[in-house]
């Protein structure tokens, strides 16, 4: 049994990491190369160091801070790094990411106070900073350090390219989003896990009759997941990944799906006022049956045996194939031009990024994340997976398409306009006006 799980896992990880952009899954998983790759990685890691070295201090900033589980791994790698290279001092200032933090990182770049190494988003969020041309491209680094980012798979580097198509960041892990279900509740009321809109509707109606919140979501606080999946399934991968100038009919239909669900009574009565953590606890305490969330939600679920992740059930007249997934790799380590042009720091910064993105390091990040996310290198599976983790693997394994969410493509202000308007759309506001307003902002910024 365990053996089987392991091989599924291995195959999945490989398959999954091959998916880039919104391409169809290519069923070409080939697990023969894993061992070789791992060995190679270890060789480069233990490369002997040059003797007498000038002391150097590098400033680093990452979003592996606060309560992020990655923070622990990140700090451990820094500690090990400083032991290995005793002439390098790392001054780290990491925080978990939020709006004000992003703004302050941008502010640092604007006044020439940028760090030497930055772990940051690679999608549209980074556009403003990328525009300052203060990051060094991987191509440029490769010219001098051919071994740079060598463990990282080409597909992962490609997934983590900036919106202008240039690869600058070296990623560690990615994420996916999916529908978490309390399977025991479905069993209790003799319901099948939803596979299409009809069965979803039945489930919603049955749960409603029995006083269970069908879908835990705070439309006021975090409607993001529903927005993404509704747009994806209404428009299909191509329509979803396009950045239109005005609201396409499919997008409008997508947002209106949220209203359809609301009218069915799928959401908590107080979905307009509660926050995301509160609805999360409704789900975890079995007061709610379903919750659409990201891979990071998995670790916090206590009942790992009766909770499962399944594909988005879909809607009427959907354009996406069943099994389409929202997810991707959207962050990585950048080296700034400031460090690159300083002869002392250049080498230290390169070594630092390599230490953080080596096979060994990414393996740790991946395991810390529950070993169900998406890794940028070839990872070795872990043992003793829970039901929930296995279902997550089955889910990602069955992916028919993988798409990065909308906020990776459009301007943050435009995206947030959509998010802030969802409650209104769900209560009868015009989805078309909202999308047009947001897209107009996006057009202005291009």
């Amino acid at each position: 049994m365990k053996k089987k799980a392991l091989s599924i896992l291995l195959a999945t990880v490989l398959t999954f990491t091959m998916l880039t952009g919104c391409g169809k899954t290519e069923e070409t998983a080939d697990d023969q190369t894993t061992t070789e790759a791992t060995d190679e990685a270890e060789v480069t890691e233990t490369e002997p160091e040059a003797e007498a070295q000038k002391d150097v201090t590098i400033k680093t900033v990452s979003m592996f801070g606060g309560t992020d589980p990655n923070a622990e791994v990140y700090q451990q790698i820094i500690a090990d790094f400083q032991t290995t290279y005793d002439y390098i001092t790392v001054e780290d200032n990491s925080q978990s990411s939020d709006e004000e933090w992003k703004a302050s990182v941008a502010a640092d770049f604007s006044v020439g106070n940028e760090p030497d190494v930055l772990q940051f988003f690679t999608d549209a969020t980074a556009n403003q900073i990328v525009a300052t041309d203060k990051f060094v491209s991987i191509e440029e680094i490769h010219a001098e350090y051919p071994e740079y980012a060598q463990d990282t798979m080409g597909t992962a580097l490609e997934a983590a390219k900036n919106t202008d198509g240039v690869q600058r960041a070296v990623p560690t892990t990615g994420y996916w989003e999916g529908l978490f279900c309390n399977k025991d509740l479905f069993d209790q009321y003799n319901l099948a896990l939803p596979t299409d809109f009809a069965s979803l509707k039945t489930a919603i109606e049955t749960f409603n009759e029995n006083g269970i919140v069908p879908i835990a979501v705070s439309l006021n606080n975090v409607p993001h997941y529903w927005v993404e999946f509704s747009l994806l399934y209404a428009a299909g991968p191509e329509g979803y990944e396009a950045v239109p100038e005005t609201a396409p009919a499919d997008w409008v239909r997508g947002l209106e799906f949220v209203k359809t669900l609301r009218d069915l009574g799928a959401f908590p009565v107080d979905t307009d006022t509660v926050d995301n953590e509160y609805v999360g606890s409704l789900f975890k305490s079995k007061q709610a049956a379903m919750q659409l969330d990201g891979s990071w939600f998995l670790g916090g679920i206590e009942d790992q045996e009766n909770t499962v992740v399944i594909a988005f059930p879909g809607m009427d007249d959907q354009k996406a194939e069943a099994g389409s997934i929202v997810g991707g790799i959207s962050s990585g380590f950048y080296i700034t031009r400031k460090a690159w042009e300083d002869p002392d720091k250049r080498d230290a910064a390169v070594k630092f990024v390599m230490a953080q993105t080596s096979q060994e390091a990414v393996q740790k990040y991946w395991e810390k994340g529950g070993a169900v996310g998406k890794a940028a290198v070839e990872v070795t599976p872990v043992e003793g997976m829970t039901n929930l983790a296995l279902s997550a693997l089955a889910y990602t394994n069955g992916a028919t398409a993988l798409c990065a969410p909308t906020d990776s493509r459009i301007d943050p202000e435009a995206y947030k306009t959509i998010i802030a308007g969802i409650v209104k759309v769900s209560t009868g506001g015009s989805a078309e006006d909202l999308l047009n307003e947001a897209l107009a902002i996006n057009n202005d910024r291009k």
Binding site: A103, A107, S110, N220, N221, D272, E413, A420, K424, R445
Partner: protein, 296 residues
């Protein structure tokens, strides 16, 4: 004589002026400037310049439904603060001033809600209002009634106003009570001898004598109402439900930090200040006129 030499002024005034300029006036001037640009971030980055958009943000004020709600709510809040905070505080102050025993206790206890942060009070009321397991619904349940969604679109504004008003009564109570204790007892005694009832004394003696203090309180209440932020934000962020409980303060916060529309946020800030100045002028004009009439 002592204050003939002017040079010590530098030492006394300059630190305060520096604070005023650096943290209040210069930012405000910059804020005015920002409202005419399309800000791509909190700071202008090389590579993504800000576009000069003239009066676009000001035009937007007139088409934005939410700001209309926010202004409406802020004005309603002003009215409510004057009536319920200042008015009720005045009644309490008069009552407390009329008793001997326990005056000190009431003075202390009535001030409690000010001492506690708006965040804590917000949290408390959130526990009262929660649909699943909140205090109010527990009461309903024990009476075997159906639970109520206390923050539904119909109820939310009221439910947010209650704690906001309640928590600041004590502040005006203290100020008004201090004013009352300064009115000499002799005046009341004279009135008693003339056979003037307690009730009449309040109208013919207390209110006229307290006019300056009352004006201060009304001005503070009205401008304070424009700045309301903490409590509504903790109880229902983003003007939830459906933006119906937005005040100018909460809406500006959401626009600026929730939606990254920094320039429009700056514009709303200007609206707040302009309204504050206008309204506090109005308060003074209204009260001055009345005074003249009384004087006739």
């Amino acid at each position: 004589m002592l204050y003939k030499k002017k040079w010590p002024l530098l030492i006394f005034v300059v630190p305060g002026l520096v604070f005023l300029f650096v943290f209040l006036y210069l930012p405000f001037v910059e804020n005015i400037k920002n409202s005419f640009f399309d800000m791509t971030g909190v700071v202008e980055m090389p590579g993504s310049p800000w576009k000069f958009i003239q009066f676009d943000n000001y035009k937007k004020l007139f088409s934005d439904e939410t700001i209309a709600i926010a202004i409406g709510n802020s004005f309603r809040m002003m009215g409510l603060t004057v009536v319920f905070e200042v008015g009720f505080a005045f009644i309490l102050a008069v009552l407390v001033n009329n008793i001997r025993k326990g005056q000190q206790i009431f003075r202390t206890v009535f001030f409690f809600p000010i001492v506690i942060s708006a965040t804590a009070i917000g949290l408390l009321f959130k526990l009262f209002y929660n649909y699943n397991g909140g205090m109010l619904n527990q009461i309903l349940k024990s009476l075997s009634l159906d639970p109520v969604n206390w923050l539904s679109p119909e109820l939310a504004f009221l439910m947010i106003c209650i704690p906001t008003l309640w928590s600041y009564v004590g502040f005006y109570f203290v100020i008004l009570l201090t004013g009352l204790t300064n009115i000499s007892d002799d005046i009341y005694e004279a009135a008693d001898i003339d056979g003037c009832s307690k009730f009449k004394q309040v109208f013919y003696l207390t209110i006229p004598m307290m006019r300056p203090v009352i004006v201060t309180c009304v001005t503070l209440a009205v401008t304070g109402a424009l700045k309301v932020f903490d409590l509504p934000w903790v109880i229902a962020a983003n003007g939830a439900p459906q933006g119906l409980t937005h005040f100018l303060g909460t809406y500006m916060y959401q626009v600026t930090f929730g939606m990254n529309n920094y320039d429009y946020g700056s514009t709303i800030a200007i609206v707040i200040v302009v309204m504050g100045v206008v309204v506090s002028r109005l308060v003074h004009i209204i009260f001055r006129d009345e005074k003249k009439e009384v004087g006739r």
